[in-house]
């Protein structure tokens, strides 16, 4: 399997999703990665077993446009990432407002701030 990773700016997420949707891509998953000072999101799309991954860096405190207007099924991942990483998704079609995963810990996956040291 070939591995394709492309960098994407947080502001281009929705636009790229729209483009891929038109081209007939299927959304595979959205995944968050813990980093210091920011969180990294990995969007994966697939067309005929050809997987494309987009890496998006999201600094703490900033939000990302939701892709649920294009791929409604993304609500599962977006709400999960919201609860685990504390990233807000704007204009979501189905927002649980932090009640998707009910946990004792608050945003357990969020990394440390830069100052606290890597």
């Amino acid at each position: 399997m070939t591995q394709k990773y492309l960098k994407l700016d947080a502001s281009d997420v929705l636009g790229t999703a729209e483009k891929l949707h038109e081209e007939g891509y299927r959304m595979v998953q959205i995944c968050g990665v813990t980093k210091n000072g920011y969180s990294e999101l990995l969007y994966s799309f697939d067309k005929d077993h050809d997987l494309v991954n987009y890496k998006v860096d999201v600094p703490f405190g900033t939000s990302v446009m939701s892709i649920t207007p294009v791929y409604w099924a993304a609500f599962v991942y977006e709400n999960e990432i919201h609860d685990l990483f504390g990233i807000d998704f704007m204009d979501s079609k189905l927002d649980y407002k932090g009640n998707f995963f009910r946990m004792s810990a608050v945003t357990p996956w969020k990394g440390k701030d830069h100052e606290e040291g890597a």
Partner: protein, 145 residues
Amino acid sequence: MSYSTKSPWILHYDASSCNGCDIEVLACLTPLYDLERFGIINTGDPKQADLLLITGAVNDQNKGVVKQLYEQMPEPKVVVAVGICACSGGVFRECYNILGGIDTVIPVDVYVPGCAARPESIIDGVVKGLEVLENKLNKMREGTL
């Protein structure tokens, strides 16, 4: 042997198990192991249950549910923790959303180890649980419980 230990009813609850133990608990009821030959029936109603079988470790989310199920069961009652997660938290002990074994919330009478617990050991655990049930029943009759 009293009537309740001859035909004990079981309530099964999946706390946060990986399914492995749950499926083995269900497998106990199927033809190969056939727990029903001991007069044991799996019920969904805590008010009719004598034994509580719990699989998986406790988290903040289901802590209340486990407590509530236990409180709804009539005395005498026996709790059997099935699988290593229910005993101590197992491989998930260090996870952020796991509080620990079932005994952090309610008293446990029988611990069944294993990952996943084998049907033979689950049946053994249930039969051990029946002894405890009998003892509790006798104590209740004597008025010492």
